[in-house]
């Protein structure tokens, strides 16, 4: 099944954001990290487990009338670092956004260790996680040194 066919499983959107090449099974986590839930009023389409030449299987999300910000892209880097993000305006790709996981993830998520100094909300500190490994993704808190549990981490989005 071609990629084009996969994309047509849901209708083309006029304006908004298409997130393609999400690792299979991660689409719901991506929605969580983007803060898209039952209170979201714009139309959201989600396709899971579609065949992909590159990935075997993948998930796709289309969010209408909303363009992802850089901060949201930074969050996406934690669960779908190789996803393709396209901003759609008037049914055409107006912009392709690059997800860039740098050497450090700053002010995106809070360390998962409950006794870390970062859990004191009054301290005026930047939340810093160092990227120890990209594949598989491994992040270490700059302060306490704890290697992060990625399943837990997605609940700590700032």
């Amino acid at each position: 099944m071609s990629n084009e066919h996969s994309m047509r499983r849901v209708t083309a959107i006029r304006n908004g954001t298409v997130i393609d090449h999400i690792p299979q099974g991660q689409a719901l986590t991506v929605l969580d990290m983007l803060g898209i839930d039952e209170k979201t009023s714009v139309p959201v389409s989600l396709v899971m487990n579609v065949p992909s030449k590159k990935m075997g299987s993948k998930d796709i999300i289309k969010v209408e009338d909303r363009e992802l910000t850089q901060a949201e892209l930074d969050r996406l880097a934690l669960v779908a670092p190789d996803a393709h993000v396209a901003i759609i305006r008037a049914y055409t790709v107006a912009e392709k956004m690059i997800i860039n996981l740098g050497d450090e993830v700053v002010n995106v998520v809070r360390c998962t260790m409950s006794n870390c100094i970062t859990s004191n909300l009054r301290e005026p500190l930047p939340h810093r996680l160092k990227v120890v490994s990209r594949d598989p993704l491994e992040l270490r808190c700059h302060y306490c040194g704890r290697i992060q549990d990625l399943d837990e981490l997605v609940k700590n989005v700032l």
């Binding site: 006794n115 870390c116 100094i117 005026p124 808190c141 306490c144 040194g145 704890r146």
Partner: protein, 316 residues
């Protein structure tokens, strides 16, 4: 080098240099010689958690070298109870002092302090995280007894889950190719991420609940207290309290040069009958906290310890 937050801040060569400096400073630590290498310098002691040995030995170390100390004092009477952030406290003390020794209940607090301070921070314990100055005095004690650090067989026993001293020490011993045995109740095992980290650095590790059968060919037995204050559940504490009670009768077949260490305070994990055996080193270890911290203060303040301390120093 800015401060000392974890043992990763020191290379093996720097560790040996500091231990050598500590060795030279022994007569000064004992009060046999006056050597005011740190005259005019001020240490800020910031202990947000109770401490006896670490705080007092930092203070003694600074004063033996002619320096002075200002203390945060009891947290209950400081601005901390008024809600002052650690950031603000550090900004203030940073202006008052030349170097800060700090203990804090939260992991990562020392790194956070170092990020915003101008002066070096010496981590005197951050939650269940690191305690590198304790590690330096432990290494000093081990080298003093065995004449070397490399290749020794070391048992770390007791609370390996919450014990920050054993976390820092196990990393350092791995760097000196020591063979490690972790003896603890299941509930207090060394955190798996630390074990994996040590193994990725080539550590040889055996994990067991049976301390006594492992002691006979060990060079060092490092006991730790089961820390009641780290348990939120009294029942959980009761399950593991008193897991090990080392008695002189357990030492019949150990190596003659084997040493028993403990960061103190002890509760009942080492019976007083051990105190008078040739193996007991915990009180010397506590004293070594002064000399190791003297060497660290000099190193972080950029002060060279003279080769011939006796020649450089004067009578008290």
């Amino acid at each position: 080098m800015t401060g000392l937050i974890t043992m990763d801040d020191l290379t093996n060569e720097e560790i040996i240099e500091i231990l050598d400096d500590a060795e030279k400073l022994l007569p000064v630590a004992k009060g046999e010689l006056y050597l005011p290498l740190l005259q005019g310098r001020i240490l800020g002691n910031l202990f947000f958690e109770p401490s006896t040995r670490t705080r007092m030995s930092f203070e003694t170390a600074m004063k033996r070298l002619g320096g002075d100390v200002v203390n945060l004092g009891d947290v209950k009477t400081s601005s901390v109870v008024k809600g002052e952030t650690l950031f603000d406290t550090i900004q203030m003390v940073d202006g008052y002092t030349d170097i800060i020794a700090m203990r804090h209940p939260r992991q990562g607090a020392a790194q956070y302090a170092q990020d915003s301070a101008r002066v070096p921070i010496l981590n005197g314990g951050d939650g269940a995280g690191h305690h590198p100055t304790q590690t330096m005095l432990d290494l000093f004690t081990i080298r003093q007894a065995h004449g070397k650090l490399d290749g020794l067989k070391v048992i770390l026993a007791g609370d390996l889950r919450y014990g920050r001293t054993v976390h820092s020490l196990s990393h350092a011993l791995t760097r000196f190719n020591c063979e490690l045995i972790f003896a603890s109740p299941e509930l207090l095992k060394m955190p798996s991420e630390i074990v994996s980290d040590l193994q990725s650095h080539g550590a040889s590790i055996v994990e067991t609940e049976d301390l006594y059968s492992m002691m006979n060919d060990a060079d060092v037995v490092y006991m730790t207290r089961i820390q009641k204050e780290r348990f939120s559940d009294e029942d959980e504490y009761a399950k593991v309290a008193g897991a090990y009670k080392l008695h002189a009768k357990h030492l019949a077949d150990v190596k003659s040069g084997m040493i028993i260490m403990h960061p103190l305070p002890r509760v009942d994990e080492i019976h007083p009958s051990v105190d008078t055996t040739r193996h007991a080193r915990y009180f010397e270890q506590a004293f070594n906290g002064v000399v190791a911290r003297m060497a660290l203060l000099c190193k972080l303040l950029g002060v060279t310890v003279p080769k011939d301390v006796k020649k450089a120093g004067g009578a008290l």
